[in-house]
């Protein structure tokens, strides 16, 4: 007899707006508290203290336009946020400061979340949708120099880039970019040469979100349809469909694989969070708490596996925090 799904461990309230982005920062030692960053539609980034479950700080840097991506760079003291004001902001939060140190004007009015990858100490690569419709630009941070601009071939008709994932097999190997586009295809880009290595049509509808497991060379993408597509990368760097998984209700806003690669979580338009086993896409749980579309899901980076958490942000202004499958 299967147990009923668990309830959230706790729920964070107080954003007063739909939550579009979440990012944990729980890796630091005591006396630092575990932190969750959330980006909301009203332009605020809230810094949640996960011990007290209250907001410690609220950052207002996007002119009250929706913040749809938050990432940390080296722990919780450096934050990157992306908003609908066409800016990517860099923040210095060390020692209680809330200083906006830098910003990048992207000139892009879309919704594509940028992707960060640390390539060396103090150096990051950031991929973001560029000004021109189908292009992706990769910048080096913090210098803000352009590394390359990835343009699809003429006539490819990929549409806007919808989601990006920078990855490298291990430290030192060349970084690659996976991009999901409006026409439903996922493209693997080689950054140094600035060209596409492989393209795979995964969906009939725009790819809303994707995530990739570089160890197993397997990725997963979700769109506005009822299907999740799992694809793999072979030795020739070619993408191929591995399998598909049919969902009960259509629409996925976010997918994320847990750092230990055991499970993954999807954020659904049907207000539900679904947990699958990554190895075989075995459905594990359906978490039904929110009363509106779930926009984002994120796993925490706790060093102690039993403390690991899953956070989901929804249009109903709430962030639910779950503790699930923490024993493995």
């Amino acid at each position: 007899m299967a147990l009923p799904p668990p309830d959230p461990q706790f729920v964070l309230r107080g954003t007063s707006a739909a939550v579009h982005a979440l990012h944990f920062s729980c890796g630091s030692q005591e006396p630092d508290v575990p932190i969750l960053f959330s980006g909301s539609e009203n332009g605020f980034i809230h810094v949640w203290n996960l011990k007290t479950h209250r907001v410690d700080t609220a950052l207002d840097g996007h002119g009250r336009k929706s913040v749809y991506c938050v990432e940390t760079m080296d722990g919780k003291d450096r934050l990157l946020s992306q908003g609908r004001d066409q800016r990517i902001c860099l923040w210095d939060l060390a020692e209680g400061r809330t200083a906006l140190t830098d910003s990048v004007f992207t000139e892009n009015v879309g919704f594509c979340r940028c992707s960060l990858l640390k390539v060396a100490q103090g150096r990051w690569l950031m991929a973001m949708a560029a000004k021109a419709l189908e292009e992706v630009q990769v910048l080096e941070l913090p210098s803000k120099t352009s590394v390359c601009t990835l343009k699809p071939e003429v006539g490819a008709k990929l549409g806007m880039p919808m989601c990006l994932k920078l990855w490298q097999l291990n430290c030192g190997s060349r970084p690659l970019l996976l991009a999901g586009y409006e026409d439903g295809s996922v493209v693997l880009w080689n950054l140094s040469m600035g060209r596409a290595l492989s393209q795979l049509v995964c969906h009939q509808e725009p790819v809303m979100s994707l995530d990739f497991d570089s160890e197993k060379a397997k990725g997963i993408s979700g769109s506005s349809e009822k299907v999740l597509s799992i694809w793999s990368l072979n030795e020739q760097q070619n993408l191929q469909v591995y399998k598909t998984h049919e969902l009960v209700n259509a629409g996925i806003s976010g997918i994320t694989i847990r750092p230990d690669k055991k499970i993954l979580a999807t954020a659904g338009w049907d207000h539900r969070i679904r947990i699958f086993g990554w190895k075989k896409m075995k459905p594990l749980a359906v978490l039904d708490y929110h009363t509106a579309t779930v926009h984002c899901v994120s796993f925490s980076d706790h060093k102690n596996p039993s403390e690991r958490l899953l956070a989901a942000g929804s249009k109903d202004h709430r962030i639910s925090i779950w503790s699930i499958y923490t024993q493995t």
């Binding site: 799904p5 009960v248 499970i263 049907d270 075995k282 459905p283 039904d288």
Partner: protein, 627 residues
Amino acid sequence: VCFIPGGLDCSISFVSHVLGKVCVHGRQKEMLSVLVPRLTDLTKSDCIWQRICWRLVECVPDRWMEAVVLGFVQRAPGAAVLSRLLGNLVVKNKKAQFVVTQKVLLLQYGHTTAVLQNLLGYLSLDSLRRALLIKVLKELLETWGSSSAVKHSPPEQQQYISKAILICLSHLKEPEIESCRQELLTSMMEGVKCHLDSSLPQIRRLGMIVAESISSKINTDGPVLKFQYEEDDEARELKSLLVQTPPFCVVPSLPDDDRNGKADAALPLVLESNKKSHTAAPVMPDEKSDAELDSDDDLIPYDMSEDKELKTKAPVYIRDCIEVLTGSEDVDKWEATVKALESLVRKNPAATREVSVELAKVLLHLEEKTCIEGFVELRQRAQVAVLTTDPIPVIKYLTSQFYSLNYSLCQRVLVLAAQELSYPKSHGKTKHSGAQKPCIQLLPGSDSSKDWRRIVDERIKSKTRRFATGQSQVELASGPNEFNSVAGHFFFPLIQHFDRPLTTFDLLGEDHFVLGRLVHTLAVLMYLAVNTVAVTAMGRALLEFVSALRFHTDSYVRQGLLSCISSMLLSVPAERLLEDMTEELLETQSWLGDVVEKDPDGDCRRLALQNLLLMENLKKKLKTVPS
């Protein structure tokens, strides 16, 4: 009183005379309360006593026969006993026959159901008398089916006749039904038509119940007529009359089963709401080939049986709603839209204002595509929401449509209902209740004068929705009546064309149901227009309208007219009434007096009385206020 038994051939005509005289002088109760039980006992098994009894009643002179027979019928504890006591009196004596078959059934209607049971049971118990039973049934049906009787006779009488018909039907045997099947069918069809035409729901229901019963009797195999109506105590009582077990059960089994089956079949059809069945789509993918052991097996799935498909959502934009309602083939979406429409309209007033007239049009023409529970109410509430968001253009549209061609009754009624219900919002908070309180205190504490206020309030309450219910106990804060700016727009267009007949719509002719609703709506409008600028003009126009329709034959219309008068008396300030409308008021007063005395409908009489009281109060109020 005791009789001498024995083989004496005594003449008991003297006793009959005494009996008759006593009864006719009104002493039935005393005499018969002793006599009847005694005779009942004596005649139980003794044939001689039975014959003596028969002789007794047969010898009563004709002029006193009625009193005696009536007394017996009322006192006898059952049809069998009555049969023993009276024998075949009705067959032998013309006067008795007249009393039993005509007077009690058709000319009087004050007797109880038990009396009817006695009487008709008595008729059914002897083969000689059964012919009379059939005759009685035919005459009852004729009355039941006559449209003028339905229109003009009081509801109580109609109920009485319906009961009598049902009891007769319960006594009929199969061969008798066969012989008059055609006649029964014809009368039923005619009768049902007249009854359904009536504006009073009680009459309609009576017609439906009787028609159903007749139909089930004559169509023992095959489909029977079934109506849908509100089942309450009255209906149940009526239907129970059909289930009879005659005292001497020599009835063959077929009619018996018939009757029992009928008791079940006569229950109204309950409309099942459309239950959506969700299919729990299995989430498990089909790979059962988990032959390989891997660490995934540590992860035990949770129960996912609750994971079902989401119901179709309604559109979130008003324009989308209009699209779905006018064109969409997707019934799920259509249903969801209908349910969500009212709240959408209220949340988006700006967007609604852009498309208000179009939306009102769509709603007016909206037909029930699928079976939704409470469709009529949902549609009404949506219409009300549209109306209150953007009153003036929508009301212009609706009132123009009210008088146009080719609308069904429901649609016109919808127009009216929408207007009625939309007032509370625009009504806002007024000093209305405050203004009325002094009135009550001036009156002597008689029940009836408090009644009128309560009844008017209740009636208004039942038709309108109050938004500020929580505060109604406390004196409502006064503020300007927001209805002010739009009152005229609601009221005058409706009253304008009522006497202009169109090819499909004739308020003064057949469509008296709509006329009734129109009149009631005008009454509500008037009531809510208190403290508005236009109230006096409205009052005068309303009074003229009422005068034109005073002698309407439909009691529902008359009730509406009387409530118009009440509203007018309550809303128009007293000074204006007495200064500007004195003559009309006096005329109205004399009309009201007439109604109180002569109107056949009990409700009308009561309303007229309340109006007269209102007028009295008005006069008193003005007398005490120094002018």
